[in-house]
């Protein structure tokens, strides 16, 4: 399995090992396609996003692996009562990875979290759906192969 898939799998496992304030089961997908009725259930999807490799010596590289975690749920009203718990959940998810290594893939060290968008305005307007995207970046040092 490719390193980025191992990291994505470790992110999924970390999300599923201890419950959050709103229960969910994270899934890892290559091609996440949903239909609006699916979103009645809270969906947390882990998707590999990209890799940046930088040479740091003749034989070693620093690799930054970006993993997207999408948090999505159909809501009944655009009220603070309904949306605040979801933004709190996103923060909980972010906090779970901050300054930590992934237990299932300890070579990967967290370096950065981006939360953009915090919520997608167009999804709230057009689908009455909360969508937030976290992008985690993990650093792995690798020795040149082959």
């Amino acid at each position: 399995m490719a390193t980025i898939d191992l990291i994505a799998e470790a992110v999924k496992a970390r999300l599923n090992d201890v419950p959050f304030s709103i229960p969910f089961t994270a899934e890892r997908k290559y091609l996440p396609i949903y239909e609006l009725p699916d979103m009645a259930t809270l969906r947390v999807t882990v998707v590999p996003k990209g890799i940046v490799t930088t040479g740091i010596s003749r034989e070693a590289s620093q690799n930054e692996y970006a993993i997207d975690v999408a948090v999505q749920k159909k809501i009944d009203a655009e009220t603070t009562e309904e949306i605040d718990p979801l933004t709190s959940l996103v923060e909980e998810i972010a906090d779970r990875f901050q300054f930590k290594r992934l237990p299932m893939y300890a070579a990967a060290a967290w370096t950065k979290t981006e939360n953009m968008p915090i919520y997608a305005v167009e999804h709230l307007e057009e689908m009455r759906q909360f969508t937030s995207l976290l992008t985690f970046t993990f650093k792995v040092f690798r020795v040149a192969q082959g």
Partner: protein
């Protein structure tokens, strides 16, 4: 008496690789027919239309398509409403 005039499937992609499919449907209804609790009314975001087909009930929710209002009048005299909805659930009766 309502009728639906257009159904379209859409694929809404957000810039993160998550794709979402929606089924949009516009309903045409006489403005005078939209009466709730004895009072003439206008559609609100989140209102739901339940459409029974055989044993299934298809539920459509009033939503704005792409930055536009969630309903509009479809004639100059405001006699007919065009209400924009999306399919959000299916129940079995």
């Amino acid at each position: 008496m309502a009728s639906y005039c257009k159904t379209r499937a859409g694929l809404d992609a957000i810039a993160l690789g998550i794709l979402e499919r929606t089924e949009s449907r516009d309903y045409l209804i006489l403005t005078a027919d939209l009466v709730l609790d004895g009072l003439p009314t206008l559609p609100n975001r989140g209102d739901r239309v339940r459409e029974t087909v055989g044993a299934n009930i298809f539920i459509y929710e009033v939503m704005a398509p792409g930055g536009r209002p969630h309903y509009r009048y479809s004639d100059p005299y405001r006699k007919t409403l065009r209400i924009h909805t999306k399919h959000v659930a299916t129940e079995t009766s």
